[in-house]
Subunit: 240 residues, 2 copies
């Protein structure tokens, strides 16, 4: 063991830091007609990997937090404000960026509301892709998206993350459709209804969806009094 | 929206990167006689926060992965090899390091086996502290430890992380003692036994603990055939 321990301020100057964001939205796949997960990708305009698709991202600005940087990237590439934004992982394999200086990417994942996603803007460099059917991306970005998909699907089971795809109020059918689209499998309506109501995670608003049928479905909201183990003591703080 | 999107290789040179590690071991607290969680801390030998305790850490070396860096820190500060090592979070608040350049810390958490922890070495700069009763640490390290404790306790509920405190085989009483020490509350032996056996997470080895009593308890091991949602597709790869 070394007699002297390095201190946290012995900082490396040879490793650079970037922040990238996996932004999920639910949209209809025109090929299948089914609602599924999409993400926006940016076409790289320089080497390495010029011309390939990559996750939106960029350098961390000096005066912004990691989450602020991710929110800025999201705003820039989609025009949207995230309904849900959480740190995913820091990716730092030695060989993840070919040539030049080594880059460690702190990656966030975000969910945007489905009706907002329809209004998302894109410039020439941004294109939305089906998250489960991507081309070969730049760097290790396929691995990053694969991990983000796993995290989202895993988190559907034990948190209220599905809420982020919906508005403040929603019908049980709308909530079930989110589960079906994200998990890519049919969900039995009766079982779903029973489990959701038993979980205490959602609350009947007493109102009903208007203008739909002679027997309009009830509107629910997530129960904000009910603490779930979403992010624990680390509530993301963003300065704007 | 900006006409041109920044690319992930537009890297910031004003933000430095460090890797720190929260290393948990179970040890007896001489004040209470109870087994509890301890972590090793390093006394800072320079400003900022000179003389304060801090998490072991240091700069990322050019040729090592983030996890390798954390394992190196752990080896250096305890002499031990981690039984469990996982990325916790990247901490990047703008004001987390007073003065000088801004530092983003990618933090790992590690669990070391209890019998190994008894053999842990420490030099003058390293001291073990009770994790739930820490002094004011340097930087945001109290927040980091608080989050690591939350993650560990949360993960006890849905993963086999408790295993990392034990050897390959263990009795149900030993496993229950780990839960009691980490969660800091008594666990009912009969309920614990029933839940553990029903979960399929552990397997009877057919052997018994020798040399203890006329009716020695059964030895169990974790069921490696049984996939749990520990880290999903991101299995940490370390080059050594």
């Amino acid at each position: 063991m070394a007699a002297q321990l390095e201190q946290p301020t012995d900082i490396s100057t040879d490793v650079a830091l970037a922040v990238s964001t996996v932004i999920f939205a639910l949209r209809i796949d025109p090929k299948t007609g089914l609602t599924t997960l999409w993400i926006p990708l940016v076409k790289r305009i320089r080497e390495p990997h010029e011309g390939q698709w990559a996750l939106p991202g960029g350098p961390l600005h000096c005066e912004e937090s990691l989450a602020d940087s991710a929110a800025r990237t999201l705003k820039r590439s989609t025009g949207l404000t995230p309904k849900y934004l959480e740190q995913l992982y820091a990716f730092g394999a030695v060989d993840r960026s070919p040539g030049g200086s080594r880059v460690v990417s702190v990656v966030y994942w975000a969910l945007v509301q489905s009706d907002e996603a329809e209004r998302a803007v894109s410039d020439d460099n941004v294109e939305w892709h089906v998250a489960d059917d991507l081309p070969t991306l730049a760097f290790d970005h396929n691995t990053i998206v694969e991990y983000a998909l796993w995290r989202l699907r895993n988190k559907m089971e034990y948190s209220r993350v599905a809420h982020a795809f919906l508005g403040e109020t929603f019908t049980l059918a709308q909530l079930r459709e989110v589960y079906e689209a994200v998990l890519r499998k049919p969900v039995d309506p009766a079982n779903f209804r029973r489990q959701m109501l038993a979980s205490r995670a959602i609350v009947d608003t007493g109102r009903r969806l208007t203008g739909t049928s002679h027997r309009p479905p009830r509107l629910y909201r997530y129960n904000s009094d009910f603490t779930m183990a979403d992010q624990g003591p680390l509530t993301p703080t963003r300065s704007h």
